[in-house]
């Protein structure tokens, strides 16, 4: 196993928590970033430790540059360089465009897109040095496709895919890969207010589970995915096929 560690932003719940567990099961020491739900982060920590893994809860609002920088300092001191970075932290603030407030726009772009850029920029030097790195950005099927009421969210996720592709080609020759996953309708707190009958529109006829997305993230973060870079793996039960 390599020295260093994995860091999952928004790792206390949903896809992030499942990803933290999956990466720990693959042998990584994992930083579990969370903004507010300390109890949930500590539950993920206990899950990982009871499986014989090691993890570190890290409180930080990743949309705050200083807090994100402090989070990196803390995990590097404890677990060494971040060689696997999963930019998963995401928020929604839905509304039709004529009614979206500046704050709704800015908050979603800051957390879903700008924070991912800054963590990427912070992690890359160590990955380049190590001649190994894995960055996985958790995007969405919304972005490449329209979804009324989510102009801010769609813009942030489409931006994340653009970021993914360009950073991927910049660093590919150093053994660093950068990919995205694009979940569809997945059963998490983020989608708790969405009527379940939306699943009727999914060919699989059910929502996805966080674990099903986490398995894809773990694949992209693994040694075996070394020739996969700049791509987006859609995980949506066939919805956008």
């Amino acid at each position: 196993m390599r020295e260093g560690c994995a860091l999952v932003t928004g790792g206390s719940r949903g896809i992030g928590a499942a990803t933290a567990r999956a990466l720990a099961a693959d042998g990584w020491r994992v930083g579990i970033n969370y903004r507010s739900d300390r109890d949930a982060a500590e539950q993920v920590l206990r899950d990982i430790e009871s499986g014989g893994g090691r993890a570190l809860p890290l409180a930080a609002d990743v949309s705050d540059p200083a807090a994100a920088a402090g989070m990196f300092d803390e995990i590097e001191q404890r677990f060494g360089p971040v060689l696997v970075l999963v930019n998963n932290a995401g928020v929604r603030a839905d509304g039709l465009s004529p009614q979206l407030e500046d704050d709704d726009w800015q908050r979603v772009i800051d957390t879903n897109l700008s924070a991912a850029f800054r963590t990427t920029r912070r992690a890359l030097p160590q990955m380049l040095r190590a001649r190994f790195g894995r960055i996985v950005n958790v995007a969405s099927v919304v972005g490449p496709r329209a979804n009324a009421g989510q102009a801010n969210y769609a813009a942030s996720k489409a931006g994340l895919i653009g970021l993914t592709k360009t950073v991927a080609v910049e660093v590919a020759r150093r053994g660093v890969t950068v990919n995205a996953v694009a979940p569809g309708f997945v059963d998490t707190d983020l989608t708790a207010d969405i009527p379940r009958d939306i699943a009727d529109a999914v060919p699989a006829r059910r929502p996805g589970t966080p674990e099903e997305v986490a398995a894809c993230v773990a694949f992209l973060a693994g040694e075996r995915a070394g020739y996969v870079t700049g791509t987006t793996l859609t995980v949506d039960g066939g919805m956008s096929a």
Partner: protein, 83 residues
């Protein structure tokens, strides 16, 4: 504490770092061009990181985009450190 910036020390750091990117250390002379050494823009980003850590001299993308030779890189670092 950053190391003291002398032309000799910077030259040693630059040559040693560039040699880790592929070229033989013996080919990394002051007159050698990055083109000839097959040193690319990403290599220069990494070199900038090493320089910053060792000497506390921050080199941005704009700073290094016009330098073509190993000697120019060394001179730039020394000039920045004394300014």
């Amino acid at each position: 504490m950053p190391a003291t910036v002398t032309p000799e020390a910077v030259e040693a750091t630059v040559v040693e770092t560039l040699a880790t990117f592929g070229p033989d250390a013996g080919d990394v002379t002051r007159a050698a061009t990055f083109d000839a050494l097959d040193i690319d823009s990403l290599d220069l980003v990494e070199l900038s990181q090493v320089i910053e850590e060792e000497y506390g001299v921050v080199l941005k993308g704009d700073d290094v985009k016009d330098i073509k030779t190993v000697g120019e890189a060394i001179d730039l670092v020394v000039a920045r450190a004394s300014s």
